[in-house]
Protein backbone atom coordinates (compact mmCIF):
# COMPACT_ATOMS: atom_id res chain seq x y z
CA UNK A 1 0.00 0.00 0.00
CA UNK A 2 2.88 2.31 0.88
CA UNK A 3 4.57 1.45 -2.37
CA UNK A 4 1.39 2.28 -4.26
CA UNK A 5 1.09 5.66 -2.52
CA UNK A 6 4.76 6.40 -3.28
CA UNK A 7 4.28 5.55 -6.93
CA UNK A 8 1.19 7.74 -7.15
CA UNK A 9 3.13 10.62 -5.53
CA UNK A 10 5.96 10.26 -8.02
CA UNK A 11 3.55 10.32 -10.93
CA UNK A 12 1.95 13.48 -9.54
CA UNK A 13 5.33 15.20 -9.14
CA UNK A 14 6.34 14.23 -12.63
CA UNK A 15 3.11 15.66 -14.02
CA UNK A 16 3.64 18.95 -12.14
CA UNK A 17 7.23 19.21 -13.41
CA UNK A 18 6.05 18.54 -16.95
CA UNK A 19 3.40 21.27 -16.58
CA UNK A 20 6.01 23.78 -15.38
CA UNK A 21 8.30 22.97 -18.29
CA UNK A 22 5.39 23.32 -20.69
CA UNK A 23 4.44 26.69 -19.22
CA UNK A 24 8.00 27.96 -19.51
CA UNK A 25 8.19 26.69 -23.08
CA UNK A 26 4.96 28.48 -23.96
CA UNK A 27 6.30 31.72 -22.43
CA UNK A 28 9.51 31.48 -24.46
CA UNK A 29 7.53 30.82 -27.60
CA UNK A 30 5.21 33.75 -26.93
CA UNK A 31 8.14 36.06 -26.36
CA UNK A 32 10.03 35.04 -29.46
CA UNK A 33 7.07 34.74 -31.79
CA UNK A 34 5.60 38.07 -30.74
CA UNK A 35 8.57 40.40 -30.22
CA UNK A 36 8.06 43.06 -27.62
CA UNK A 37 7.66 46.59 -28.91
CA UNK A 38 10.91 48.52 -28.80
CA UNK A 39 11.16 50.77 -25.80
CA UNK A 40 11.33 54.43 -26.67
CA UNK A 41 14.75 56.00 -26.50
CA UNK A 42 17.55 57.22 -28.76
CA UNK A 43 17.87 53.98 -30.69
CA UNK A 44 14.15 53.78 -31.37
CA UNK A 45 14.11 57.45 -32.49
CA UNK A 46 17.05 56.84 -34.83
CA UNK A 47 15.29 53.84 -36.33
CA UNK A 48 12.01 55.72 -36.81
CA UNK A 49 13.92 58.71 -38.19
CA UNK A 50 15.71 56.54 -40.73
CA UNK A 51 12.33 55.39 -42.04
CA UNK A 52 11.22 59.00 -42.43
CA UNK A 53 14.49 59.92 -44.12
CA UNK A 54 14.37 57.05 -46.60
CA UNK A 55 10.75 57.80 -47.48
CA UNK A 56 10.88 61.58 -47.85
CA UNK A 57 14.42 62.98 -47.93
CA UNK A 58 16.40 60.41 -49.88
CA UNK A 59 15.35 61.71 -53.32
CA UNK A 60 17.49 64.82 -52.93
CA UNK A 61 19.84 64.11 -50.04
CA UNK A 62 20.63 60.54 -51.11
CA UNK A 63 20.76 57.25 -49.22
CA UNK A 64 24.04 58.27 -47.62
CA UNK A 65 22.63 61.69 -46.66
CA UNK A 66 25.56 63.23 -48.51
CA UNK A 67 23.46 65.39 -50.85
CA UNK A 68 23.86 63.03 -53.79
CA UNK A 69 20.29 61.84 -54.29
CA UNK A 70 18.87 61.06 -57.70
CA UNK A 71 17.29 64.53 -57.93
CA UNK A 72 20.48 66.35 -56.99
CA UNK A 73 21.25 66.97 -60.66
CA UNK A 74 18.40 69.48 -60.81
CA UNK A 75 19.85 71.84 -58.24
CA UNK A 76 22.66 74.33 -58.00
CA UNK A 77 23.75 74.60 -55.27
CA UNK A 78 23.42 70.88 -54.65
CA UNK A 79 21.32 69.54 -51.76
CA UNK A 80 23.09 69.74 -48.42
CA UNK A 81 25.51 67.06 -47.32
CA UNK A 82 23.77 66.22 -44.06
CA UNK A 83 26.58 63.96 -42.91
CA UNK A 84 28.74 67.02 -42.50
CA UNK A 85 26.10 69.48 -41.41
CA UNK A 86 27.19 71.96 -38.74
CA UNK A 87 23.60 72.90 -37.93
CA UNK A 88 22.10 72.04 -34.58
CA UNK A 89 18.86 70.17 -34.00
CA UNK A 90 16.79 73.31 -33.56
CA UNK A 91 17.93 74.70 -36.93
CA UNK A 92 17.26 71.36 -38.61
CA UNK A 93 13.74 71.26 -37.21
CA UNK A 94 13.08 74.78 -38.46
CA UNK A 95 14.29 74.16 -42.01
CA UNK A 96 12.46 70.84 -42.23
CA UNK A 97 9.25 72.34 -40.92
CA UNK A 98 9.33 75.61 -42.86
CA UNK A 99 11.39 74.75 -45.94
CA UNK A 100 14.56 76.24 -47.36
CA UNK A 101 13.05 79.52 -48.50
CA UNK A 102 11.94 80.39 -44.97
CA UNK A 103 15.54 79.99 -43.83
CA UNK A 104 17.08 81.92 -46.75
CA UNK A 105 18.37 78.65 -48.16
CA UNK A 106 17.39 76.76 -51.33
CA UNK A 107 13.77 77.36 -52.29
CA UNK A 108 13.69 73.77 -53.55
CA UNK A 109 13.83 72.34 -50.05
CA UNK A 110 10.06 71.90 -49.47
CA UNK A 111 8.34 72.84 -46.22
CA UNK A 112 7.48 69.54 -44.55
CA UNK A 113 5.44 70.92 -41.69
CA UNK A 114 2.13 69.96 -43.30
CA UNK A 115 3.23 66.44 -44.17
CA UNK A 116 5.33 65.29 -41.22
CA UNK A 117 4.31 65.22 -37.58
CA UNK A 118 6.43 66.88 -34.92
CA UNK A 119 7.43 63.40 -33.78
CA UNK A 120 8.58 62.47 -37.28
CA UNK A 121 10.57 65.71 -37.57
CA UNK A 122 12.17 65.08 -34.19
CA UNK A 123 12.97 61.50 -35.18
CA UNK A 124 14.58 62.41 -38.49
CA UNK A 125 16.70 65.07 -36.78
CA UNK A 126 17.78 62.48 -34.20
CA UNK A 127 18.68 60.12 -37.04
CA UNK A 128 20.67 62.79 -38.90
CA UNK A 129 22.55 63.70 -35.74
CA UNK A 130 23.34 60.02 -35.17
CA UNK A 131 25.03 59.71 -38.60
CA UNK A 132 26.77 63.09 -38.52
CA UNK A 133 30.52 62.68 -38.98
CA UNK A 134 31.46 66.06 -37.50
CA UNK A 135 30.61 65.21 -33.92
Amino acid sequence: MKALALAAGLVLLAAQAQAQISNAYVQVLQTTLKPLLARDGPDAAHFRGSLVFFNYCVTCHGPNADGKGRAAKLYNPAPANLRESDKNGQYMKLIIRGGGKAMARSEFMPPWGEELTEEQIGDVVAYLQSINTRK
Partner: protein, 107 residues
Protein backbone atom coordinates in the same frame (compact mmCIF):
# COMPACT_ATOMS: atom_id res chain seq x y z
CA UNK B 1 3.61 97.91 -99.01
CA UNK B 2 7.29 97.06 -99.35
CA UNK B 3 7.61 96.77 -95.59
CA UNK B 4 4.35 94.98 -94.88
CA UNK B 5 4.97 92.04 -97.23
CA UNK B 6 8.21 90.87 -95.56
CA UNK B 7 6.57 91.36 -92.16
CA UNK B 8 3.62 89.24 -93.20
CA UNK B 9 5.93 86.57 -94.55
CA UNK B 10 7.90 86.58 -91.30
CA UNK B 11 4.70 86.29 -89.26
CA UNK B 12 3.53 83.40 -91.42
CA UNK B 13 6.89 81.67 -90.98
CA UNK B 14 6.61 81.99 -87.22
CA UNK B 15 3.08 80.62 -87.27
CA UNK B 16 4.16 77.67 -89.39
CA UNK B 17 7.04 76.94 -87.04
CA UNK B 18 4.69 76.65 -84.05
CA UNK B 19 2.85 73.39 -83.38
CA UNK B 20 -0.42 73.31 -85.26
CA UNK B 21 -2.65 72.52 -82.30
CA UNK B 22 -0.70 73.14 -79.11
CA UNK B 23 -3.05 72.17 -76.32
CA UNK B 24 -3.02 72.61 -72.57
CA UNK B 25 -3.77 69.52 -70.51
CA UNK B 26 -4.88 70.02 -66.92
CA UNK B 27 -3.80 67.54 -64.25
CA UNK B 28 -5.16 68.00 -60.74
CA UNK B 29 -3.46 67.02 -57.52
CA UNK B 30 -6.10 65.93 -55.05
CA UNK B 31 -6.05 63.51 -52.13
CA UNK B 32 -2.29 63.08 -52.53
CA UNK B 33 -2.80 61.72 -56.04
CA UNK B 34 -2.59 62.97 -59.57
CA UNK B 35 -6.05 63.00 -61.16
CA UNK B 36 -4.77 60.56 -63.78
CA UNK B 37 -1.93 58.05 -63.83
CA UNK B 38 -1.12 58.25 -67.55
CA UNK B 39 -1.41 61.07 -70.02
CA UNK B 40 -0.72 61.22 -73.72
CA UNK B 41 0.10 64.60 -75.26
CA UNK B 42 1.52 65.93 -78.49
CA UNK B 43 4.93 67.51 -78.68
CA UNK B 44 4.44 71.23 -78.08
CA UNK B 45 1.50 70.77 -75.73
CA UNK B 46 1.74 71.96 -72.16
CA UNK B 47 0.58 70.32 -68.96
CA UNK B 48 -0.89 72.45 -66.20
CA UNK B 49 -0.55 71.04 -62.68
CA UNK B 50 -3.32 72.37 -60.44
CA UNK B 51 -3.12 71.85 -56.69
CA UNK B 52 -6.62 71.02 -55.45
CA UNK B 53 -5.41 69.81 -52.06
CA UNK B 54 -5.47 71.96 -48.92
CA UNK B 55 -1.72 71.50 -48.57
CA UNK B 56 1.34 72.07 -50.74
CA UNK B 57 2.63 69.85 -53.52
CA UNK B 58 6.03 69.91 -55.19
CA UNK B 59 5.82 68.46 -58.70
CA UNK B 60 9.05 67.46 -60.39
CA UNK B 61 10.52 65.16 -63.03
CA UNK B 62 13.98 63.69 -63.50
CA UNK B 63 13.27 62.34 -66.98
CA UNK B 64 15.94 62.82 -69.61
CA UNK B 65 13.67 64.56 -72.09
CA UNK B 66 12.17 66.90 -69.51
CA UNK B 67 13.56 67.44 -66.05
CA UNK B 68 12.02 70.16 -63.92
CA UNK B 69 11.06 71.12 -60.40
CA UNK B 70 8.01 73.35 -60.03
CA UNK B 71 8.81 74.03 -56.38
CA UNK B 72 6.35 73.95 -53.54
CA UNK B 73 2.94 75.54 -54.21
CA UNK B 74 -0.26 75.58 -52.22
CA UNK B 75 -3.98 75.09 -52.69
CA UNK B 76 -5.54 76.62 -55.78
CA UNK B 77 -2.22 77.42 -57.42
CA UNK B 78 -1.08 75.96 -60.72
CA UNK B 79 2.09 75.70 -62.76
CA UNK B 80 2.60 74.64 -66.37
CA UNK B 81 5.29 72.71 -68.15
CA UNK B 82 5.87 72.72 -71.92
CA UNK B 83 6.41 69.25 -73.34
CA UNK B 84 8.77 70.21 -76.11
CA UNK B 85 10.47 66.88 -76.81
CA UNK B 86 8.99 63.48 -77.67
CA UNK B 87 9.37 60.61 -75.24
CA UNK B 88 8.21 59.62 -71.79
CA UNK B 89 8.16 61.98 -68.81
CA UNK B 90 7.78 60.50 -65.35
CA UNK B 91 6.31 63.05 -62.96
CA UNK B 92 6.50 62.82 -59.17
CA UNK B 93 5.76 64.89 -56.09
CA UNK B 94 8.70 65.55 -53.77
CA UNK B 95 6.47 65.80 -50.71
CA UNK B 96 4.32 62.75 -51.44
CA UNK B 97 6.50 59.93 -52.76
CA UNK B 98 3.55 57.74 -53.76
CA UNK B 99 2.32 60.24 -56.36
CA UNK B 100 3.32 59.17 -59.87
CA UNK B 101 2.24 60.27 -63.33
CA UNK B 102 3.50 59.04 -66.70
CA UNK B 103 3.26 61.42 -69.64
CA UNK B 104 3.82 60.17 -73.16
CA UNK B 105 4.84 62.99 -75.48
CA UNK B 106 4.16 62.04 -79.09
CA UNK B 107 5.76 63.58 -82.16
Amino acid sequence: MRTTVPAAVAALAILLALPAHAAEHVVSQKGKNFSIKRLSVQQGDSVKFVNDDPFAHNVFSLSDIKSFDLGSYGQGLAKSVLMDKPGVVEVECAVHPDMKLMIEVKK
